[in-house]
Amino acid sequence: MSYIAKSPWVIHYDGSSCNGCDIEVLACLTPMYDVERFGIINTGNPKHADVFLVTGSVNEQNKEVVKQIYEQMPEPKVVVAVGICACSGGVFKQCYNILGGVDTVIPVDVYVPGCAARPEAIIDGVVKGLAVLQEKRDNMVKGIDAPAEEPEAAAEEEKTEEGGEN
């Protein structure tokens, strides 16, 4: 396991959430759930972050902000959509100002359902995200070593290897 997977840093952005999922994300950091025992630290700086937690759905005004934070994060990175609103728009899907889930703007790796998502589910989602992060990192390392003309093949080979290990 690389150092990233041992101590991933997360950044949290509240899309247009009702706060329910946000306070549950914060609750994960506090003594009851304490994600720091997994080495996870909440940071405010996109450049420090490996995992992007987004709560709430995306609207006209914040889609640029979400995109910007995502683009500022260094590779490899993982996006975890927390709560049903971030997954699909949820109860607000039909509202006039809602574009939909986070995946309408940036690629999402892990979806955590729930209204509001429970802290256990959020931790589970982040841990699942870490496996994806590891995979992306391995691909990246291999991508650099592999011959430039066959990057896709290298990626596929990597996936089967991962599957074999599991």
């Binding site: 509240d14 706060n19 329910g20 009851m32 914040n62 509202c95």
Partner: protein, 360 residues
């Protein structure tokens, strides 16, 4: 004259759990002007009245905010009940009052934690949230949800809380009172905390009235204003309720008001449990909504408006919610003028902003 610079603050900022954007005009380190811009969380959920009938609408309104969710559900349900002329059973009024005070308790503990975080006292933040988990456990045990409850409906409550459980709740709260006291003593007595709050962001009584501030912000400036003194909801009239008032108007006073309310909520819950009558918790509601009704509740953050208007249909014509932060933004803008740039986070926090409430 020092050079003026505009510093954008937010929407994504380490101190803000929610996105709000302020343009801070500063001269050296002093803020001269603050211009708020909002709309990052605007969903337009009030317009869902066209697609959801009045009973479904209660659950939508509840999701305006995950911190004051019970109050929103209550307000929406009670406004529709008022418009329809439905009288809910007394036990339901008692239970709603108890659940609302539990929400206030968890909201204020949450806020105390965030405040500690804002002035860099990490361990105090963690302790506040640790104690808050006890309240969340009670809410989860009685309603099934930690932050979104969906227990209020038009006509009463979805489920009863039996007397045994109610007694347990009072005992549990009595049990954590000591722990809360230990934490709040740090806020009130610790010098390093006081140095960061006393005299910071003073809002005079005149300004609070002029700027129409509500809730703990107004009460911290000596304005006697608490919607729990109105008689059309809950059972506060039978619980000898008196609002908590401080007069200094600074961050410290606003903090003391909320601390006072934490203990007051525990007392109110105990009194309500001692008096709660037996009986059903809901009445059947049939028919369409005709007429209008305006109701105000005291949310943890202050006065909230719920206005329901129906035109003889299952679908409401309008369901309007005016949340407390809306009314405290002018006071925030005023207190930010002339403050140090480094005090901005703590000033924003002491109005206890709820942006998802503000923008809906």
């Amino acid at each position: 004259m020092a050079k003026r610079t505009v510093i954008p603050f937010g929407p994504q900022h380490p101190v803000l759990p929610e996105p709000v954007h302020l343009d801070l005009v500063v001269e050296d380190e002093t803020v001269v002007e603050a211009i708020p811009s909002i709309g990052f969380i605007h969903r337009g959920l009030e317009k869902l009245v066209e697609k959801r009938d009045y009973s479904q609408m209660v659950y939508v309104i509840e999701r305006i905010c995950g911190i004051c969710s019970f109050g929103h559900g209550w307000g929406a349900a009670a406004a529709v009940e008022g418009a329809m002329g439905v009288k809910i059973p007394e036990r339901a009024e008692y239970l709603r009052t108890i659940l609302h005070e539990l929400s206030r308790l968890h909201s204020h503990l949450l806020w105390l934690g965030l405040l500690a975080d804002a002035f860099g006292f990490e361990s105090l933040f963690n302790h506040c949230w640790r104690v808050r988990e006890t309240v969340l456990d009670i809410l989860e045990k009685t309603t099934g949800g930690r932050v979104i409850f969906s227990i209020c409906k038009v006509g009463g409550l979805n489920k009863d809380i039996d007397n045994e459980t109610l007694k347990e709740i009072v005992e549990t709260l009595e049990g954590i009172k000591e722990e809360i006291k230990e934490l709040t003593d740090v806020f009130i007595e610790d010098d390093s905390v006081k140095n960061r709050m006393v005299g910071v962001g003073v809002l005079s009584k005149e300004d609070a009235e002029e700027l129409c501030a509500v809730g703990p912000v107004a009460r911290g400036s000596g304005v006697v204003q608490d919607m729990r003194l109105t008689n059309n909801h809950g059972v506060y009239g039978e619980l000898d309720f008196e609002p908590v008032i401080e007069t200094a108007g600074d961050c410290y006073a606003r903090c003391k008001v909320r601390i006072g309310e934490v203990f007051q909520s525990i007392e109110l819950i105990a009194k309500a449990v001692a008096k709660i009558p037996e009986g059903p918790v809901s009445v059947p509601v049939k028919g369409n909504v005709e007429g209008e009704y305006m109701l105000r509740l005291e949310q943890p953050r202050g006065e909230a408006f719920y206005y329901a208007k129906g035109a003889n249909s299952k679908f409401l014509q309008r369901m309007r919610v005016r949340t407390p932060t809306n009314m405290n933004i002018p006071a925030l803008v005023k207190t930010l003028q002339g403050c140090d740039l480094a005090d901005v986070p703590i000033l924003i926090l002491t109005i206890d902003p709820c942006i998802s409430c503000t923008e809906r």
